[in-house]
Amino acid sequence: MSENFRSIETKFLDKTNRISFKYNGKKYYGYKGDTLASALLSNGVHLIGRSFKYHRPRGIMTCGSEEPNAIVQIGGNGSFTEPNVRATEQEIYEGLEASSQNCWPSVEFDIGGINNLISPVIPAGFYYKTFMWPKKLWYSLYEPAIRLSAGLGKSPTQPDPELYDHNHLHCDVLIVGGGISGIIAASISADNGNNTVLIDDKNSLGGSTIYQNDENFKINDEISSTWLDKKIKELKKKQNLTIKHRTSVAAFHGYNYLLARESLADHKSLDERLNKLRQRLWKIRAKKVILATGAIERPLIFNNNDRPGVMLANSVKKYIDFFGVKCGNKNIIFTNNDSAYETAISLNKKGIEVVVIDIRKNSSSTLVQTTKDAGIKIYWNHAIVNTSGYRRIKSIQIMEMSEDGTNVVGKKTSLLCDSLSISGGWTPMVHLFTQSGGKLKFRDADQVFLPNTVISDQISIGSCNGDFELDDVIKNTISECKNFLSASVIDYDLLKVSCPKQKESKNIWLLPNNKPLGKTKPFLDFQNDSTAKDIKLAMREGFKSIEHVKRYTTTGMGTDQGKLANMHALGIISETAGVKMGSLGTTTFRPPYTPLTFGTIVGRNVGTFFDITRKTPMHDWHKDHKAQFENVGQWKRAWYYPKDGENMYQAVQRESKAARESAGILDASTLGKIDIKGTDASEFLNRVYTNAWSKLGISKCRYGLMLNEDGMVYDDGVTTRLGENHYLMTTTTGGAANVLSKLEDYLQTEWPELDVWLTSVTDHFATASICGPNSKNILKKLFPNLDFNDENFPHMSFKNAEMDGINCRIMRISFTGEHSYEINIESKYGKSLWEKCMDAGKEFNITPYGTETMHLLRAEKGFIIVGQDTDGTMTPIDLQMDWIVSKKKYDFIGKRSLYRSDTMREDRKQLVGLLTDNPKEILEEGAQIVKNEKKQPIEMLGHVTSSYFSPNLNKSIALAVVKNGKKLKGQKLLVPMKDKTINVTVSDFIFFDSKNERLNA
């Protein structure tokens, strides 16, 4: 297909570099530097997709990130595919494949178009009102149907193969936006010795001035584009200045912290992209920020203003002046201000037919005079009341406006066209400004929200600050920057700027029509298909707040976030409600300014880099011995060691029996370890644990329970007194970091008078725990010189020892109820310690066991696991652990809370044992426990917290928390499951060796 509409020479494209691409399966050509939109327009393609609700044909409307219609799927079906890409921003590359995404079954024939015919019955809130009831049909019928016909693009089905990165950037001055004001600011900043960064989202600098070839716009007697071109060339040579192209600031947070996405490869072919970075997220800290983010042209809201071929006037100008593409052969411009006359003049100069409709009564500016002189017909005081053309605009009907502008009068005039350029004035892009915490003010004259007060060190310049004319832009940019940067070096003091425009515009949010509003379709939000009628309906139904109207009508909720629609919605609300627009406020501008891919957000933190993996020194041994691992926090812990095709259940049953019958060994290195030193260490432990510590002898161990100040169990573990003023505390694996931080908090803030020092030593030691009747025999082999006599080395005591000259700490402590030792050694010797234990234990059939067996063994003994059997609502009394709560101590963390009326209630949920009536039946952890299934609503008494089949008891056992459980011992309860109800009896929760005889066996 030839490019019938690229008739104009342009210096901005590389005409030697012709590029082929596919759109909806058809091959087209464009040039390097083209966006997908400009390339399609050069081929005469306007129709891009179907609208969301009514499935009306829609075409390219803008040339930037505000584009509501030209949203496409890029990259075929592969893993490279990406939905919701704005054709106006995507640069073409050789082999690019793009397709319409909102037009099932095809853009030309559209089943959903039926919605357009029945549109009188699809008012605001239609989806809410209709499809939410009956609710059960939502998932099976409504939602799939809406999704299929609305088509929000398709996500890739495979992992993203591209690379993304994160980088930090620090600078003195960050300038966002590379239009004329940004360029002047960058130049002033760099000249004054500031380390400056200039960020722009396009592939070249210059904004809209760089293609402003009109003689009417001059700086120092040069055409403004020529002047700016020179300035850009100078700028690129400056020291202290970094320019980032194709980089879009997504978020502006407090303290001048900004996130920007730099697009490095989106404009390159897939071959060139291979193994290269696609996008980089810059995390920027700037001492000062200058926002020069520009303004977006407003559409005009009139009947059937959404046909393909209807575009913003300044975009039409960019397509002709920058891309050399004409948007049509018969152009009509519809405006309420002078700026659209720039488009008229540009088109006229290129020999394109053009007519202007202006809702104002006149304008006496030089620009309008030039337009008249060129012989362009202007219809003053006229408004468009209707348009026609299904797949492309064909004609418009205009009428004269009444004296006060609220109505149309007289006869209709029809005009033929294939391109309609509309301009409703300008909206400053204050998104980033408000994201940073800045507050806006309203300027009545041209109905714009402008930056007012700021929190961080920043200014807004140029059109985002409400200066829309070249002379104002330049004059104010220079003075603002001078002031803000305390600049002494200024090249621009004597600039002479000519600007031929009149600043007055005539603002009418919803243009008058000869038909009532119910019979017209004046679109507001093109992407979400909401009309002025929807806004008014929402208000009639009682919605007043802009945030509510927005959600009810879905105005501004598309991927464009209402960049075009929001101001009109506000304007119509204010006109309808008779409230001043400035007092309505705006909807919240949330980051990101334009959509970000997930890849950019996560950067390199994918796969194994998603989170830190902590491995014990024995990890490789476990791996070599086929251990299955489970994640405990960031730790990889050996879960069980399947042998000869065992499943988990079989492995755990075997491991559990072996540990009780002869010897088992567990890698306990992950337990948190905190080294505590200082003359007040004992007193400190007294205050943080529920039990008493002062009398613990040196070389003795004690189990401790730690509460929160609210009385709920927080952590537990065994602490060993290594010396007079030296303890080693162990914590749960998951709680280690939190416990340390909590203890530090108390030490630093509540008890700074205590002489106590805490050091985390979790990673410093590897721990092998050997349990079972033969554990002592194994230890004797490992430490032949140590006295393992029960009197000299009793349960809950500690000894220093040596293994091949390496110091070890041996604690005789037990979490399984068996005679048991924990050997601690410096981490680097952990694996060889483990291997020596295995060697020594071989004759006793020493069996490595994982966390699952550990859990089973401790459940047989009724030992709790904090976080599994407790959930932050359990006091030690609830856990039937009254024995560990000191009555004598005056105070400890959480003590007072144990005497609150609620914690003393007798019918709280309490820890109990459960035995199933059928001993083979294993309960599901988390299962609910009830007394009476018949009485509705069924009262839930509690839930199962731990459940196993005990091979040592040959029956199923479970721990549970049950309301008033202590008093229910012996009673029958029910555990209702999906397909049956299980009968259980409340029991003691110590199932095995309740007299602790095995500890000393």
Partner: protein, 91 residues
Amino acid sequence: MFIINCPFCGERDQSEFSAGGEAHIVRPKQPTELSDDEWADFLFMRKNIKGIQFERWNHAHGCRKWFNVIRDTSNDKIHAVYKMGEKPPSI
């Protein structure tokens, strides 16, 4: 994201710190003497001010020290930082 001036390390990114709630809530010296209401007041009740708030921060991924911060919660401006046990500076 704030920049917080740790009194021990200097200016660092907020991501190094963790917040610890309202400052200057002293743990009662004799909790057993308190009524349920008084204890609940210490335990649960916080002012949650819109405006100037005194709060605790911990340089968790740095020196691990706790300190106090005076922050305007309406705009996140930090007016002062001072060490534990020190009197708040006047702002």
